[in-house]
């Protein structure tokens, strides 16, 4: 440790920028190694300025770091508070998306088999994923921001729609990518889209009265039962034919209308 130290006069002149560059350079080199001389400079910066900067630092340090999904949302221009609300959704978190991907992947691989069971399982599974995602996205247990949401001056209905849309988009994108990547039949790649819309909107409507988890489970179970019932003898894609698709469209439409009229139930 050197024996050279700043005195008060030198500290003041340095802080005021009055030292010539060479001497200032010596001071700066010395400062890096000498806490005694550093402390001489502390009174040269207004307390209020230091406090203000500290408040900002404390703010940034206390704010939880946004997850990858939240950062992605912000990157594509979603407002910060919306991104935070969406990012808090379980079914938009990485573990959930990873689990969905694996489930879909197996189903899609199975559809490579010569029988049509594989394709059928893919088409059955794809619409259930958003239903399950939406079901766990709401309610007291599913939503980590539930109580904050209740207290926030933010329409619960809007929040619910936003989350449902986000869940639907992410799981649909997943199913579409899988379908395009692993299946070659052209129309079947998208045959699950209307069913998934129908089931999801149905779940949302029911959620206005019952627990979202129960609704999700009930809708998914009904869907499975119907699919199994129509395929008891041999695998058929009857559920995904033209008439079926028209039916899903109708269910979606009716559900959305009902949802609109029942929107007050969500707040």
């Amino acid at each position: 440790m050197s024996t050279w130290h700043m005195d008060d006069g030198l500290a003041v002149r340095y802080a005021d920028g009055e030292l010539n560059p060479t001497l200032a350079a010596s001071v700066e080199a010395h400062l890096l190694a000498c806490d005694q001389c550093r402390s001489l400079l502390a009174p040269r910066v207004p307390r209020s300025r230091l406090d203000r900067v500290w408040a900002e630092v404390a703010d940034a340090v206390d704010t939880p770091a946004p997850g990858p999904f939240e950062r992605l949302l912000r990157a594509i221009g979603v407002h910060d508070h919306t991104a935070r609300l969406l990012g808090a959704t379980h079914s938009l978190r990485l573990p959930w998306i990873a689990a969905s991907t694996v489930a879909l992947l197996f189903a899609a691989l199975a559809s490579g088999e010569t029988t049509r069971w594989g394709l059928l399982s893919y088409l059955t599974l794809a619409p259930i994923l958003p239903v399950a995602g939406v079901a766990v996205a709401f309610g007291r247990d599913g939503d980590p921001a539930h109580e904050i949401g209740l207290a926030a001056p933010y329409s619960m209905f809007r929040l619910m729609l936003m989350r449902a849309a986000a869940v639907l988009t992410s799981s649909s994108a997943l199913a579409l990518v899988m379908g395009l990547g692993l299946l070659d039949d052209d129309w079947t790649v998208a045959a699950w889209l209307l069913p998934s819309l129908a089931l999801t909107s149905l779940t949302l409507v029911l959620s206005s009265r019952f627990d979202p988890r129960h609704c999700g489970a009930a809708v998914a179970a009904t869907w499975l039962v119907v699919v199994v019932a129509t395929n008891l003898r041999e695998p058929s894609l009857a559920m995904f034919g033209g008439a079926g698709q028209a039916g899903y469209l109708a269910i979606t439409f009716v559900s959305v209308v009902l949802l609109f009229f029942r929107r007050k139930e969500f707040s």
Partner: protein, 175 residues
């Protein structure tokens, strides 16, 4: 007052790595003032300096783990601080450029002051402000050629040639 006040910088930084917020506060109280003053000598805009200091301590909080435990904590903080200032300057290029020249006194004063101090001081004092700014940015502030260029608002190639010229002049003076 807590026991933190008596800890060394290195110990505080280890505590910060373990998410000790109070340790960060003490570290801030010790290091923010000189950092503010030293950065002010590189950039005359106090708002930018404040932003840079803020970013620096947020970065200290996030990257305390990466400190290898060698050398001065202050030097490590300075390395972060000057680069955060560069980020600020890059983000707002409209702001009048860095104040290396702000601290430069007139040429005559330079010569007069130069005589007072030792051989190197004299030699440094005889360098033109442009050459000295480059020496300061690269040697003293520890910036790379490219970073120094950004800070001074000149191309990296120019930093290199000025540095070579400054070295040659200093060698002539000192040998």
């Amino acid at each position: 007052m807590s026991e933190h006040e008596s800890w060394t910088d290195a110990r505080l930084l280890e505590a910060v790595a373990d998410r000790d917020r109070r340790a960060l506060e003490v570290l801030y109280a010790r290091h923010a003032p000189w950092l503010v003053i030293r950065l002010t000598r590189r950039c005359a805009d106090p708002a930018l300096v404040d932003e840079a200091v803020q970013d620096t301590f947020v970065a200290v909080w996030r990257t305390a783990r990466t400190w290898r435990g060698k050398g001065e904590v202050a030097a490590w903080i300075w390395g972060i601080g000057i680069r955060r200032l560069l980020d600020q300057l890059r983000r707002r290029p409209a702001v009048p450029l860095p104040a290396y020249d702000q601290v430069m006194v007139s040429a005559e004063e330079q010569v007069l002051l130069g005589i007072e101090y030792g051989e190197l001081g004299q030699a440094m004092g005889r360098l033109s402000p442009e050459l000295r700014a480059v020496v300061q940015a690269t040697v003293l502030d520890g910036l790379t050629t490219r970073e120094a260029g950004r800070l001074l608002g000149i191309p990296a190639g120019t930093v290199k040639t000025r540095m070579m010229r400054a070295k040659a002049l200093l060698r002539e003076e000192l040998v």
